[in-house]
């Protein structure tokens, strides 16, 4: 959708910058797109897109988020955590729907509470709150008008975003009759209207059928490729893994970790990795005359020679010709280097190698159980 | 339900235990039988003229059979609906008003019969106008106030209680039905092995409980009280009146529950429901009164006023003479009954239509 993503067009971006140098000449004309007034100076470009500095928020006596510090610059970041961990609160703080009680949220250095910052952020809320009598098209267009676009511009943008989220041919029906997937798409469409740099998506994949989910995942990846920054919360960790490996894990109002899943996993020193290794028991001879060695030998060798290994368990395998080991090891990187070396030097035929507890699911489980 | 002795295992409390009981089959015939028997009883007690004892027996049987409702498949729905309304403080405030009206009549009757016993035969001076027999005075007073156990007394009682019934139903409607649609509880009920009829009957019974709690039951109490104070023969001689009270209650119950359920399904929320209810009963009433009383239109215009229609039929049930019925003139009672029946059928078909449209599997 090139006509929508006009700020991806370098000429357009330059115009913004040019205007910034003469702020007094900022256009106020009726037909002008409001977000063209956006002050995106070069210094501001150097600032992180999103910066939360020790943000806390209470609802009366109830703590929403507690001393959250988060910095995002680009790409997709997953926001995961239990219900009530403060994900939605954090998202609303970022989108400027809520004002932090302590700390500061800024978008390119602008306070997120300000109208200026809101023009940079698109928000797709988790709750369904539509005017059910409107058609999808009317709803998105009304949102476009609320963004301050002129009638013709609103129409153009509405058409573009609806096409983009794959709702172009279904948007004239009333929202009342929409499925969950269509509702999510309409919410996404209105978040994309003003072509924001940061998209905050609260549970955008929940309740959608697998076909629609695959389409949305592809769309998110495409948006990220075009240089948008996405913050996506989801309970469906398998889906999130398809989107990104960079996650922020929230628990009890705090951010427990922000990093790639693999690195967070590494830092969980209390929980050694569990690696499943399947070896062929008695394969044929190797080219150099040696024959494959038994999986018990590998178990012994791992225990004796690799200091990172803290336990090896020989378990039954479903196939009589396959030996299966469950290895518990710390420091994944060094362990795997050693394992590779052993496999090559000592003639083990590994046919399956899998870390069982490095998924986001497992990491989240370990982190929250602590 | 005999459970075999099993050895205690670790964590056995958290173990899933199968249930060995039997599930009751529902039989539609129970409802049909109930309705049939009650109709026969009611017809018999309304048509018998001289056999007072038989009539009284029929009445007692008719009332007692209502106890069977508790055994019906729809009763759990009714019970939960009642529980919801009984939890509201506002309900109790309004119900207190209804009870006050009842107490007024209740103690009014006591006062009158007490006054009668006190004065005896001595004459008293009445404000310098002359002397009068106090019994005569009290009787006069009593007849004027209609505290005399006559049809008019019950007419007045129903009349006053009618207002509280309206207010309570307006409040209860959204709790009874509107919330079920708004919060998706309907999917809960209808995904269970009950039919949509059971649901409607259950909710209708709940409305019936409110209506009868305010009107019929206190009225019957007043009837019993008067008979005890006056003369035991009253029960036999005036048993026709008791049938009238029950009939009046029945008319109110059927009409109001159907109209209420239909409006509550339609508007769902409390405030709009009260507004619709007020329009339906207050505005239509004012309009028809203005048309017939002031502008001298045809009395058929009164058919606009559902409340008037129920009252009118109720008065006829109580056996009040046409000259005593107010407001007057009224259309022919057949016409009124036809309109009321039509409205009930309309409400019922709307209800069925709406409940059939509920998506249980989304």
């Amino acid at each position: 959708m090139p006509e929508l993503l006009d700020s991806a067009d370098p000429g357009r971006r330059d115009r913004h910058l040019g205007q910034m140098q003469n702020p007094s000449e900022m256009p106020k004309a009726e037909g002008e797109v409001p977000h063209a007034e956006l002050p995106l100076s070069r210094e501001r470009k150097d600032q992180p897109l999103l910066l939360c500095q020790r943000v806390s928020k209470w609802y009366g006596p109830v703590l929403g988020v507690n001393q959250v510090t988060l910095e995002l610059r680009s790409g997709i970041t997953g926001l995961v955590g239990a219900n009530g961990a403060g994900k939605s609160t954090l998202m609303r703080l970022i989108t400027g729907h809520l004002r932090p009680d302590l700390g500061q949220v800024s978008i390119f250095g602008i306070d997120a509470w300000s109208a200026q910052a809101k023009r940079l952020v698109g928000y797709c809320p988790d709750v369904d709150a539509f005017y059910e009598e409107m058609s999808g098209w009317q709803f998105v267009e009304a949102m476009a008008r609320l963004c301050g676009y002129s009638r013709t511009e609103s129409r153009r943008r509405t058409e573009a975003v609806l096409h983009r989220v794959g709702m172009a041919n279904r948007s004239d029906r009333r929202i009342r009759g929409y499925s969950k997937g269509m509702r999510q798409r309409i919410k996404l469409a209105q978040a994309l209207l003003h072509d924001p740099a940061l998209l905050v998506l609260d549970e955008p994949l929940s309740g959608i059928d697998p076909v629609g989910r695959a389409e949305l995942v592809a769309l998110f990846l495409e948006l990220a490729e075009q240089g948008k920054c996405l913050l996506v919360s989801s309970h469906e960790l398998e889906e999130l893994e398809k989107l990104t490996d960079h996650v922020a894990i929230m628990a009890r109002g705090r951010i427990a970790a922000v990093d790639t899943v693999a690195r967070i996993r590494d830092r969980l020193a209390d929980h050694p990795l569990t690696v499943r290794i399947d070896l062929r028991k008695n394969g044929g001879p190797l080219a150099n005359g040696q024959s494959y060695r038994h999986h018990r030998d590998l178990a012994a060798q791992l225990l004796a020679e690799v200091p990172e290994v803290c336990g090896v368990e020989i378990v039954d395998s479903p196939h009589p010709l396959v030996g299966r080991l469950l290895v518990r090891a710390r420091q994944a990187e060094r362990f795997f280097v050693e394992l590779n070396r052993l496999v090559l030097d000592e003639c083990y035929e590994v046919i399956h190698l899998e870390t069982l507890d490095s998924s986001t699911q497992a990491v989240l489980g370990y982190l929250l159980r602590k | 339900m005999s459970e075999s002795v099993e050895p205690i295992q670790h964590g056995s409390l958290l173990h899933y235990r199968p249930w060995q009981g039997q599930l009751e089959d529902d039989s539609r015939w129970g409802v049909f039988l109930f309705v049939g028997v009650q109709t026969v009883l009611f017809t018999v007690m309304a048509t018998i003229s001289d056999l007072h004892w038989l009539r009284l027996a029929c009445i007692l049987l008719f009332v007692a059979l209502w106890g069977l409702v508790v055994r019906s498949r729809a009763w759990p729905i009714t019970r939960v609906a009642l529980l919801m309304v009984f939890r509201r403080k506002l309900f109790w405030v309004i119900y207190t008003l209804a009870v006050l009206v009842f107490l007024l009549f209740f103690f009014g009757q006591y006062l009158m019969s007490w006054a009668l016993t006190q004065f005896g035969e001595t004459e008293v001076r009445v404000g310098g106008m002359g002397r009068a027999n106090p019994k005569f005075l009290v009787d006069l007073f009593r007849d004027q106030l209609k505290m005399n156990g006559s049809a008019e007394m019950f007419r007045n009682f129903f009349w006053y209680e009618g207002y509280t019934v309206m207010v309570i139903l307006a409040l209860a409607g959204s709790i009874l039905v509107g919330n079920d649609i708004r919060f998706g509880s309907l999917a809960f009920y209808l995904s269970k092995p009950i039919s949509r009829w059971d649901y409607l009957i259950g909710k209708g019974l709940a409305v019936a409980v409110f209506v009868n709690l305010i009107t019929t039951i206190p009225a019957v109490l007043l009837f019993v009280q008067f008979g005890m104070l006056e003369d035991w023969n009253y029960f036999l001689e005036q048993s026709r009146l008791l049938v009238g009270i029950l009939g009046y209650g029945l008319i109110l119950t059927v009409t109001l529950s159907l109209v209420l359920l239909a409006t509550a399904v339609w508007v769902r929320k409390t405030v709009p429901l009260i507004m619709t209810w007020t329009t339906l009963f207050l505005f239509c009433r004012l309009l028809s009164e203005a048309l017939v009383n002031n502008l001298q239109f045809d009395p058929r215009w009164r058919l606009l006023d559902l409340w008037n229609s129920t009252m009118y039929l109720g008065h006829l049930c109580l056996g009040i003479q046409e000259t005593q019925i107010r407001p007057w003139p009224q259309p022919a009672w057949e016409e009124t009954a036809l309109v009321l029946g039509g409205v009930c059928c309309l409400c019922l078909s709307y209800l069925i239509l709406r409940i059939r449209g509920v998506e249980i599997v989304t």
Binding site: N83, E333, T355 | H15, E24, R73, G184, K192, V361
Partner: protein, 325 residues
């Protein structure tokens, strides 16, 4: 009363169709489902909810016949619902009631005597670990508790079959795990048959023995996951640490086809016949890359699902598709 639950067939449909006006939601569906844990999959508009309604006796089939636990469809409306414990997707709670009252009411509506229903409600609530919350009002419940109380209401009369519509929707990962574990135990250890309707393929993989894929009112596939998913001897998924581009290049030179390289060390390769997995380690060490994961790239349930839908939508000759099988 309930039909004999030990019968061989749980659900049997013979050419069941359902029209809404001119729209055909189910198209001559014929099915035999044995007792067990079944996942019912399908995109929106596949006819899943119509099938559920027919199974629950809420809708009669327009044509065809069928039986659930020996009960004839279309005739035994309420009896069907008594034999099945249905957990709806919608938040079908009654605000103002306590958890125990709610489950007890469900029991009564299923036809249990009131006292038995209350006793059984407490028992089921204890089993589902809601004993602390049972006197609290339903509107104060968290999402996880709401899902569990809905399950309790479906389980209260101890039905042989549970029909679960999106039981994990809205649950956080921990809650979802707990729910799936509960369902698995109910199925495996307590002999309940489950029909799990969901959009989350992971749920089906973790709970169900067999899957049923529905699309445009037809059954596209039915069988166990292992049976249905193509087993691909010649494809591997690799996870490597280090720079994977040179490694990938070398793989290509050795005759392997690089199907996917996500740039973050995750590769999928198709290898020529007679390939020894050991070659991966050899090639990796040539480029200073460490292999941290090596798995056969068998078709996942998700891939199967998408493939089956694609095949149904664009009828291609099946010969092309058997390449990987």
């Amino acid at each position: 009363m309930l039909a004999n639950s030990t019968s061989e067939v749980l659900i049997e449909l013979e050419r069941v169709s359902r029209w809404y006006g001119t729209f055909q939601a189910l198209d001559e569906v014929s099915l035999r489902i044995a007792p067990g844990r079944v996942g019912l999959l399908g995109p929106n508009g596949a006819g899943k909810s119509t099938l559920l309604k027919i199974l629950l006796g809420l809708l009669p089939p327009s044509a065809g016949s069928g039986r659930v636990l020996g009960l004839e469809l279309g005739r035994a409306g309420t009896n069907l619902r008594r034999a099945i414990g249905y957990m709806p997707e919608a938040e079908s709670l009654i605000p103002g009631l306590s958890g125990a009252d709610y489950v007890g009411l469900a029991g009564e509506l299923y036809g249990m005597p009131r006292r038995q229903a209350m006793r059984r409600a407490h028992e089921v609530l204890t089993y589902l670990e809601l004993q602390e919350a049972r006197y609290r009002k339903l509107e104060e419940y968290s999402t996880g508790m709401k899902q569990r109380i809905k399950l309790a209401a479906a389980l209260v009369h101890d039905p042989p079959v549970l029909l679960l519509d999106e039981p994990t929707s809205g649950l956080d990962p921990a809650g979802r795990d707990a729910m799936l574990e509960l369902l698995r135990v109910l199925g495996r250890e307590h002999g309940k048959s489950l029909i799990l309707c969901t959009h989350l393929l992971g749920d089906v993989e973790r709970v169900c023995e067999t899957v049923l894929i529905l699309h445009r009112g037809r059954v596209l596939r039915q069988g166990s996951v292992a049976e249905l998913c193509a087993s691909r001897q010649d494809r591997f998924r690799l996870q490597v640490a280090g720079d994977s581009s040179a490694f990938g290049e070398e793989l290509r030179q050795e005759g392997a086809i690089l199907i996917q390289n996500n740039g973050k060390g995750r590769l999928r390769v198709a290898v020529p016949e007679g390939w020894n997995p050991r070659t991966f380690f050899v090639l990796a060490s040539n480029h200073g890359v460490t292999i941290t994961g090596l798995e056969r790239d068998d078709e996942t349930l998700e891939e199967l699902f998408h493939r089956v839908l694609r095949e149904a939508d664009t009828p291609v000759p099946r010969v092309l598709e058997t390449r990987h099988v």
